[in-house]
C-alpha cells in the first residue's frame, strides 16, 4: 500500500487498541470506515507520473497503477481491521476530518452502523508543497496564527483516526467513552475556490448550525479549536466568525496548527484528537509563536502556553478549498443534551 494508506492503517490500529477493541470483536458488517483526505495516495500518483513524463508510457509500472486512488484509504483500513460495512473516502480538502467524523456519526445515529473507524489522512508531496508556495500561502519560517505579523502556514502530514460507537454498543461492551460527538455543521461559501467569503457568512452558518444541532447555545461552549492556518485571510475571517457567533464573550480559542503544521485533509481529524485530550484534561492547547496582537483578529488566543479551564464542550472548526466550512462539537461524556429529531426548516 502507499504511504498515505499506511499512515491511516497505523492510526486505525492504534485507535482500536486505545478503544480496547481486539481484532474479532468488531461487529464486522456493522462497522463502517469513513476517511477524509485531500489527495489520498498522492505519492503513488507522483511516482507514476514521473515515470511517464521522464521515461515514457512504457515505463509506467502496471502493478503500481491500482495502488492509486483515494478509495484505497478506507479499503486498506477495512482490510486491516476486518470492517465489512461501508467503505467511504470523503475528499474535502482541509475540512476532510470534520466531514468524515461528522458523517460517520450520522451513519451511526441513523442506525446504519454500530461502529465507525473514522478520521483522515494526508501526506506531504512535492506538488502540494509547491502549490501552497505558489499561492504565497506558506510562512518562510514559523507559523503564527492570529498574530499581526503572521506570514502563512507550514505544512504537516499524518493520520488521525477515531473509533466512534453507538452509545448502546459502547455500553454493551463496557467501554469507557472518551468523548461524545455532538452535532456538526456543513456549508459552502459558493464564492471563491481558495479564498473565504469576506463576510464569512458560510462559516458563521456552519458554526451556528453545529452548536444548534448539538442542542446547545453558544454559552455552553468552553473552547474553540480554530482552523487557524496562519494566513492573513483565514485568520481574519475566522476571528470574524468567532466574534459574530460568540458576540461579546471572549471565548478561548487556539490553533494546534502552530505546533502540528497544517496537515491539510488530516488536520481537523488530528485536531479532533487534540480536542478529546482537552476534554479529558481541561488543558487548552497553546498557539505558539504568538507575539503581537492583531486588531483584525480580536479574539482570546491561548497564547504560547497551555491554559487550564472548563472543558466540557469544545468546537472544532475547519475551512477548505472549494468554499467548504465544516464545524463539529465534541463533549465530555454525559454533558450533551439528548439528541433531538432533526428540525424542519
Amino acid at each position: 500500500m502507499g504511504r498515505c494508506s499506511a499512515m491511516a492503517v497505523a492510526a486505525a490500529r492504534m485507535a482500536l487498541a486505545d478503544a480496547g477493541l481486539k481484532q474479532g470483536e468488531l461487529p464486522r458488517r456493522r462497522t463502517v470506515v469513513v476517511i477524509g483526505t485531500t489527495m489520498g495516495e498522492a505519492e503513488i500518483l507522483g511516482e507514476l507520473e514521473r515515470d511517464w513524463i521522464v521515461r515514457g508510457p512504457g515505463a509506467v509500472r502496471r502493478a503500481h497503477i491500482p495502488r492509486y486512488g483515494s478509495t484505497l484509504l478506507p479499503i486498506h483500513v477495512a482490510r486491516a481491521t476486518g470492517a465489512q460495512g461501508m467503505v467511504l473516502a470523503l475528499p474535502a480538502a482541509c475540512a476532510a476530518g470534520n466531514y468524515a467524523i461528522g458523517f460517520a456519526a450520522d451513519l451511526i445515529r441513523s442506525g446504519r452502523a454500530d461502529v465507525a473507524i473514522t478520521g483522515a489522512a494526508e501526506l506531504i508531496q512535492e506538488l502540494q508543497f509547491s502549490g501552497f508556495v505558489r499561492l504565497a500561502a506558506m510562512a518562510p519560517e514559523k507559523c503564527q496564527p492570529f498574530d499581526l505579523n503572521r506570514q502563512g502556514l507550514l505544512l504537516g502530514e499524518g493520520a488521525g483516526l477515531l473509533i466512534v460507537e453507538s452509545e448502546a454498543h459502547a455500553l454493551k461492551r463496557g467501554a469507557r467513552p472518551q468523548a461524545e460527538i455532538g452535532g456538526y455543521g456543513l456549508s459552502c461559501d459558493a464564492y471563491h475556490i481558495t479564498r473565504p467569503r469576506p463576510d464569512a457568512s458560510g462559516s458563521i452558518r456552519a458554526m451556528r448550525d453545529a452548536i444548534r444541532r448539538s442542542g446547545l447555545s453558544t454559552g455552553d461552549i468552553d473552547f474553540v479549536n480554530a482552523h487557524g492556518t496562519g494566513t492573513k485571510q483565514n485568520d481574519a475571517a475566522e476571528a470574524k466568525v468567532v466574534r459574530e457567533v460568540f458576540g461579546t464573550r471572549r471565548i478561548p480559542i487556539s490553533s494546534m496548527k502552530s505546533m502540528l503544521g497544517h496537515c491539510m485533509g488530516a488536520a481537523s481529524a488530528l485536531e479532533a484528537i487534540g480536542c478529546v485530550f482537552t476534554l479529558e484534561t481541561g488543558l487548552y492547547p497553546p498557539t505558539i509563536g504568538y507575539e503581537t496582537r492583531d486588531p483584525e483578529c480580536d479574539v482570546e488566543v491561548v497564547a504560547n502556553v497551555a491554559r487550564t479551564g472548563k472543558a466540557d464542550i469544545v468546537v472544532n472548526n475547519s475551512l477548505a478549498f472549494g468554499g467548504y466550512n465544516a464545524v463539529s462539537v465534541l463533549a465530555r461524556p454525559g454533558v450533551l443534551p439528548p439528541p433531538q429529531p432533526a428540525e424542519v426548516h
Partner: protein, 395 residues
C-alpha cells in the same frame, strides 16, 4: 432510507449533452466508436489498442457562456453543465434564477474516482521538466479532488452541503446514501447527487497499461446528476417526480489472500443487494430490472452478474448501459440511475410502454415494458459493491 423523490436530471454522457441523447444511446444500443476522441486534451492515437469515448461534441460555452471557463478543467466543466441542467430540469431554477427553495438550502453530493488527472499531469509536467517553482498557481486548486464540486457551487450558488465522494465505481451510489442522510437531517431542501469523471491521458494510459480497454471495454467520461428531495417537499412545490429512490446497501468483502489488491467479488454484490432490498422493504421478486455496471471487463462483469443472479434468481433481467456509454468510473452509478429513470419511463424523454433499451444491452432475461422497479448495482475494483433500489413514482 426514507423514500426520496427524484425531480430532475442533468447529464453529459458519451452520447452527448442532455437526457434525449442519453436515452437515444441506450435505446439504439450502438456502442461508441472504438476511438471517439476529438478534444484537445491529448492525442488518442498514441493508444491504438485503447477503446475510448469522450462526451460527443462537448461545448461548455453553449451552456455556460464564454466567461470564466479558462481556469477550469474538463472535469469541472462537465460537472457544472450537468448541475445547471439538473437544477433547471427539476424546476429549482428557471432561466438561471431560483424558482424554488434558496441557495442556503440546496447542495451537491458528487462522486469522482480519480480527481483532475488533467490538472495534476499539467502541473507535474512543469514540475518535472522545468521546476516546481513555475507551476501555475491558478491551476493548483484543480488538483484538489473536491474542486469540481466547489466550482459547481460557485457557478450555481449552492450554499448548503457540498460533498465529494471517492469510492471508485461505487461512489455515485454511495453519494445517494450520503445525500439521503443529509436530507433526513434537514441539511438541505434538495440535493444534486451523482458523479463526474473526465477523460484524460493519464486515465487512458493507466487503463491501457492494465490491458483493460482492449477487449470490448470502452473508457468513457461524463457527469450525471439527479435532483432529489423529500417527497413532501417535491409535493408542496408540485414538482414532476421522475422516480423514487427506495433503498441502498453496500458491503466490503476482502480477498482471502493478503497480497491481492484488485478483487472481483460476487459476495459483496450479493450482500449489497440483500441490504438494499431490506432497506427498501422489498423482496427479490419485486425487482423488475437490474441496471448493472457491466462494461466489458470480463472478471468484474462475471462477478457482478453472479452476485445479482444469486440474489435475484436466474430469471432476473440484467441490462448493461455501460456497453453503450463506456465505463465512467465515479460517474458510472449515476449513469445507471439515469438509465433506470429512462427505463421506468416517467420522464418526458422516456417512451413509457415501449421497448426502452436495445437488446444488445440486455445481458440476461427478458426486459418487460415500463418496469416499475429497478435495482442499480456497482462493483468496485477492491472488494466493495453497492446497490440502489428505485421505483417508478406512484401513478
Amino acid at each position: 432510507m426514507r423514500e426520496l423523490a427524484v425531480t430532475g436530471v442533468g447529464v453529459a454522457s458519451t452520447a452527448g449533452v442532455g437526457l434525449p441523447a442519453f436515452i437515444e444511446a441506450i435505446q439504439s444500443g450502438a456502442r461508441p466508436p472504438f476511438r471517439d476522441v476529438r478534444s484537445d486534451t491529448f492525442d488518442g492515437s498514441k493508444y491504438p489498442l485503447a477503446g475510448i469515448a469522450e462526451v460527443r461534441g462537448f461545448d461548455p460555452t453553449k451552456y455556460l457562456g464564454n466567461k470564466g471557463l479558462r481556469s477550469l478543467d474538463r472535469l469541472t466543466k462537465l460537472l457544472i453543465v450537468a448541475t445547471r441542467l439538473a437544477l433547471h430540469d427539476s424546476g429549482l431554477k428557471k432561466d438561471g434564477a431560483w424558482a424554488a427553495s434558496s441557495p442556503d438550502r440546496v447542495g451537491i453530493v458528487v462522486s469522482n474516482a480519480y480527481g483532475s488527472l488533467e490538472a495534476i499531469t499539467e502541473l507535474d509536467r512543469v514540475a518535472t521538466l522545468e521546476d516546481a517553482r513555475y507551476i501555475n498557481p491558478s491551476r493548483f486548486p484543480l488538483t484538489v479532488s473536491n474542486t469540481a464540486a466547489g466550482y459547481a457551487s460557485i457557478w450555481e450558488d449552492l450554499r448548503a452541503v457540498n460533498v465529494s465522494v471517492s469510492d471508485g465505481n461505487c461512489g455515485a451510489l454511495d453519494a445517494l446514501e450520503c445525500a439521503s442522510v443529509f436530507l433526513a437531517q434537514s441539511r438541505a431542501d434538495a440535493l444534486l447527487v451523482g458523479g463526474a469523471e473526465a477523460m484524460s491521458e493519464a486515465l487512458v494510459l493507466a487503463f491501457d497499461r492494465l490491458g483493460a480497454l482492449a477487449n470490448g471495454a470502452r473508457l468513457g467520461e461524463g457527469a450525471a446528476l439527479i435532483a432529489i428531495e423529500k417527497p413532501e417537499m417535491a409535493g408542496s412545490r408540485a414538482a414532476n417526480i421522475l422516480a423514487m429512490v427506495a433503498g441502498y446497501g453496500t458491503a466490503f468483502v476482502p480477498p482471502e489472500r493478503e497480497g491481492s489488491l484488485v478483487h472481483a467479488t460476487p459476495d459483496a454484490v450479493e450482500q449489497a443487494i440483500a441490504y438494499a432490498l431490506a432497506d427498501a422493504a422489498m423482496e427479490a421478486r419485486d425487482i423488475e430490472v437490474v441496471i448493472s455496471g457491466a462494461c466489458g471487463l470480463q472478471a468484474f462483469d462475471q462477478a457482478e452478474l453472479t452476485g445479482i443472479l444469486r440474489t435475484l434468481g436466474e430469471g432476473a433481467c440484467v441490462v448493461a448501459p455501460k456497453l453503450a456509454l463506456g465505463e465512467t468510473l465515479g460517474a458510472g452509478g449515476a449513469m445507471g440511475i439515469l438509465a433506470a429513470i429512462a427505463l421506468m419511463g416517467a420522464h418526458a424523454g422516456g417512451t413509457a410502454g415501449g421497448p426502452t433499451v436495445a437488446a444488445d444491452l440486455v445481458l440476461r432475461g427478458a426486459l418487460r415494458a415500463a418496469p416499475r422497479t429497478a435495482l442499480v448495482t456497482s462493483l468496485g475494483y477492491y472488494g466493495n459493491a453497492s446497490a440502489l433500489v428505485m421505483r417508478a413514482p406512484s401513478r
